[in-house]
């Protein structure tokens, strides 16, 4: 009994969760690109594509459920399968945040940006990079790598605080910026949440690798 079919399906599920993560990282970067360039058509596509991410998440969960019900995985296999279910759920929520950022572009409409966007794209780059690395750490079953990725959340948090401070100052100086500044705060918040959710993914990687659940983002995520 070597469980070839089971192994194949488990590997396929791992690959699918990594591909889903790549789609979410891509959506995050495109949403912020659309925001930076005020590209409504791109924003529209990112928002529409989120439906596809949701469908893939549901399909993935269905396959996990089937494997749990029919194969009774245990030990390491069980931890991997459970991690896939958790990671896929976190990815779906990250996708929602990315779509939320994209929809802000549509809300801002033709209005010019109240400031050039510097830190928000940096947050998107950081969050997307963290997401990609967390999934590579998952494939590598590398707990140390996952912890290091989760630690990068502090940089995103610091940028988020900076963006807030800057936007507050703008609003105080010129109350007519309040509406758009609020949207930009939401965008920053969405990206900060994506990075928080990546720390959840990192926690699952540690769980798969070590069998222990560690809180890598105390009080958050």
């Amino acid at each position: 009994m070597v469980r070839e079919a089971f192994d194949r399906e488990l590997r396929a599920l791992e690959e699918e969760v990594v591909l889903l993560g790549e789609a979410v990282a891509e959506a995050t970067l495109r949403a912020v690109d659309a925001l930076r360039r005020k590209d409504a058509a791109l924003a529209q596509r990112v928002d529409e594509d989120d439906e596809g991410i949701n469908e893939r998440w549901l399909a993935l969960e269905e396959r996990c459920l089937e494997l749990l019900a029919t194969q009774q995985p245990a030990a390491g296999d069980l931890r991997v399968l459970l991690a896939i279910v958790h990671i896929a759920t976190d990815l779906e929520r990250m996708g929602d945040h990315a779509a939320g950022v994209a929809r802000l572009v549509l809300r801002i409409g033709d209005e010019p940006l109240i400031k050039p966007l510097i830190d928000i794209p940096r947050m998107a780059d950081l969050a997307a990079g963290m997401l990609r690395d967390s999934l590579q750490a998952f494939l590598a079953r590398d707990a140390a790598w996952a912890r290091a990725v989760a630690a990068r959340d502090d940089e995103v948090d610091a940028l988020h605080d900076q963006v807030h401070r800057e936007l507050f100052l703008l609003m105080i100086e010129n109350p007519r910026t309040i509406t758009q500044a609020t949207y930009l705060m939401w965008a920053s918040h969405g990206l900060e949440r994506i990075a928080d959710l990546v720390t959840n993914v990192c926690e699952r990687v540690v769980f798969v690798a070590t069998g222990t659940l560690e809180d890598l983002n105390p009080g958050r995520g």
Binding site: M1, V2, R3, F6, Q72, P73, A74, A75, G76, D77, L78, R79, G211, T212
Partner: protein
Amino acid sequence: MSEHVAPPVLSTRKFSLWYGSHQAVIEVDLDIAERQITAIIGPSGCGKSTLIRAFNRLNDLIPGVRTAGQILFRGEPLYGRGVDPVEVRRRIGMVFQKPNPFPKSVFENVAFGLRINGFRGDLKAKVEEALARAALLDEVKGDLHRKTGYDLSGGQQQRLCIARALAVDPEVLLMDEPCSALDPIATAKIEDLIRELASSVTVVIVTHNMQQAARVSDYTAFMLLGELVECGPTRELFTRPKDSRTEAYITGRFG
């Protein structure tokens, strides 16, 4: 099992057993915790049935069997001089893979052990108590003397054998693949019963059904090629085994 404060009911200390020149059990150190369910799992030929049989000296009857090391029952050597195997088997009962009722009435099946042990109390009450503990009384109450063990279904026969073992108030109940001849519903009934029995008796169950071990036991011991590879709380062993051989076995990579 170090987390258990109570001393173990049964312990093996570097216990080995040979059938002629073949060593079936190799220096096993295992503690069986009181009123807990310990499952022994492992592939065919790993020595799990041999070990459980050693716990009530059933291997004594097999020619060419030799042992080394010790099995302690409440701290006393089980294989010591002057230990009466019949008394051992009263205090440590056994239920086998295939139900083996006697071709006698349900009542006599359960009363048998009591009679040979010279029981002098209320035989009827004791038999009914044992049948109730084995969750069989309600199904056979009107037919105690009319039906024989052979008139019962497979699952009922197995519960009858459990009642027969329980009638003499054993401290430990050994079960060697007790459900392997039963259908899923009869199996579920026995598993429920095993969980209930653990409040009053220590249970050691040998099973090749890993899901059964995971469902019913508090502790699981994994044996391979005569050796004890790993023993620990069942929930730990099935989620984060320490030994890669345990991992390979319970995830179905071999066996």
